[in-house]
Symmetry: C2
Subunit: 393 residues, 2 copies
């Protein structure tokens, strides 16, 4: 096993030598502002439409880099122009954010969800932290108010499944609210955030987590009922691992050791369930009873779940220095560095077959952007730096 310092250097070199230069060079749109998304292997554009998720995520990423990785003024400028593009082009007449717009910012697709809002808020928050400019704080507050309204008001968006026949809930909503409130709390003193987080933690640990099955489920009944259907049996290991470290961050904030232990269990259970013992890597989806998963993509190895695993494992190690977490961290790191880099080309592949060979050579799409990998490589390098100097506070 490498030393902590060596691992840190590996992650940092990849972050600043491969990921960031790619997105810095290719993603800011010199013509219309905002961020381009559709990149082939070496940065050539293969589509021009703009994912609104990526506008918020990229704004956040460049502002975070500016704040915590060296203060390069260009990064702040790039983040600023991302926020401007969002302000000017990404909100409909009711203040709901689009899902996709054209390169020049005309609306294409609106969805019955509000994840675009979550990423925009993260971007505004990070820009306020970078600049102290009240306008960014105001934008974060306004978009959060809207998002919280959607979250707490039934019927804002038409449901996909007839609610007279069946009611379910997915864990992504309370999970993203947890993360968004953690961001809002940094820039606003309002008891509401802790209240929303309390409720998110309750839902995650009581409704979605099934200790008897050692699984965090994606979908349950309105009161946490276990559903006997492919949807109700579905585990998304990467998603569970992401939730796990959101909960860990909260446990650290609250100095709540019991909550930390729960989040560590979610981490270990998700790795145990999701790891492919035959070919290595984390499956995209698994069925908690081992029954078939409907998505044909179930056995693919995607980059992002491995990124989420690395963060959760180092948080766990910082908590109690159990070697098991380091062993998993090494296993996940080895798998990532064996399959996702694209030697001789910038950035990494995002999607491999079960056997670890790439499905495509794209570097950017509506879904694959500078988010999961850049976030993980930032956080992992920071966590390794703390571990390396023994900061186990």
């Amino acid at each position: 096993m490498k030393t902590f310092a060596e691992y840190r250097q590996l992650y940092l070199d990849t972050l600043l030598g491969s990921f960031v230069p790619f997105w810095e060079k290719f993603s800011p749109d010199p013509e219309y502002g905002g961020f381009l998304c559709g990149f082939m292997r070496d940065g050539e554009l293969f589509f021009e439409d703009k994912s609104v998720w990526q506008q918020g995520r990229s704004t956040w990423m460049f502002a975070k880099l500016y704040n915590e990785f060296g203060g390069k003024p260009e990064w702040l400028d790039i983040a600023r122009q991302g926020a401007t593009f969002m302000d000017e082009h990404c909100f409909d007449e009711n203040g709901h954010m689009y899902f996709r717009v054209t390169r020049d910012g005309r609306p294409l697709v609106n969805r019955r969800y509000y994840f675009s809002e979550a990423f925009a808020i993260m971007g505004y928050v990070e820009l306020f932290k970078a600049t102290g400019e009240e306008a960014y704080r105001r934008r974060a507050l306004d978009v959060f108010a809207k998002m919280h309204h959607y979250y707490t008001t039934p019927g804002c968006f038409p449901p996909k499944v007839n609610p007279q026949t069946r009611r379910t809930k997915g864990h992504s909503m309370c999970m993203i609210m947890l993360n968004v409130c953690q961001h809002m709390r940094m820039i606003d003193d309002n008891a509401l955030y802790d209240k929303v987080i309390d409720d998110s933690l309750r839902q995650i640990t009581q409704d979605f987590l099934k200790p008897g099955e050692k699984a965090l489920l994606e979908t349950v009944g309105p009161h946490g009922e276990r559903l006997d259907s492919p949807e109700g049996r579905l585990v998304n290991p990467g998603h569970s691992l992401e939730t796990a470290w959101f909960v860990m961050t909260e446990a650290i904030h609250r100095k709540d050791a019991a909550l930390m232990e729960t989040a560590i269990l979610i981490t270990l259970w998700s790795l145990e369930r999701g790891w492919d013992r035959e070919m290595g890597g984390l499956f995209y989806f698994v069925d908690v009873e081992g029954k078939p998963v409907l998505s044909l993509e179930w056995d693919m190895k995607l980059l992002w779940p491995h990124c989420e695993a690395a963060i959760a494992l180092l948080h766990a190690y910082l908590h109690d220095r159990n070697d098991l977490y380091l062993q998993w961290f090494e296993k996940v790191t080895d798998y990532m560095f064996a399959h996702f880099p694209d030697p001789g080309h910038p950035e990494w592949f995002g999607h491999c077959h079960r056997d670890g060979t790439p499905i495509s050579t794209i570097k950017g799409s509506d879904w694959k952007g500078p988010f999961h990998n850049v976030r993980a490589f930032m956080l992992v390098s920071q966590l390794l730096e703390r571990i390396d100097r023994g900061d186990f506070a």
Copy 2:
């Protein structure tokens, strides 16, 4: 190469020895009527919800088997109860068909499309042919009237993409209207069907077919404009091959040799573009310029495109007895029989990785049912029987 009679026996044995017994035994729901869909390897149910597409498709399939493969009375009974379930449970208050209902027939999902209607019409038509009962003919006429209204009236369903920003059209709508009108024409004497078919043929051959690129595209502008986007470059070889033999059927009906030649070109171009020269089999999606395809499923080998290819190739061979079509038919048949059967278990796999290994062992889902494979094996065995006895009329 096998003789035509040997190939015929191979297809027929698989149809009547593997496919049909599976669906006959497991799919009719003894409790609530209609057809169950979610089957694991040996027929065990892994979900209970009912796909409305599968209700129409299965009704059609059992009625067609009754009409053309031996007149087994049980098959007619099974088809009849499928139609009853549709009548009682699959239409909303406006007469639009649902996409998914519960096992006991309560509405779950409604969609902004009307493919459920297409498959229901096929089922009603085939039942009318089997029984001569006016009620089935009436149902086909009524549902067709509704479908035609949706097809010709803009704004019946909210578009996914903002039409003020971008207008596109997909080839599946005019393709399914072509096929549905071919069915309606068998039971109703109305010039409308030929008129709709004329328009479908015009759109397919003039708007979606790009001879310069040797490709039938999935999506174009409202007047056939080639779009420079992943969507506009997308070829779905299986879909193109299915369209090709729908067009061939029309060319035969109209005794239109030029149309037949066009459909044969679509067939050859789709095979050339879609065939994986490295690992064999037809890709699920390809980009007409060789750029990346957004869907992560692009390089999977699915059973159904190979089924559509087999039908198109034998229609082509019946037309002009060119050996090239037989060579392709042999190649496609060899690939299918090498990768999709599940020795020791009934029915076939539907989904393989690029390398031809199965992605999952499911035998039924919302999408995989007794349709593409059963239809192809019925038609292929009939076409081979005609070829074998030299009926090249």
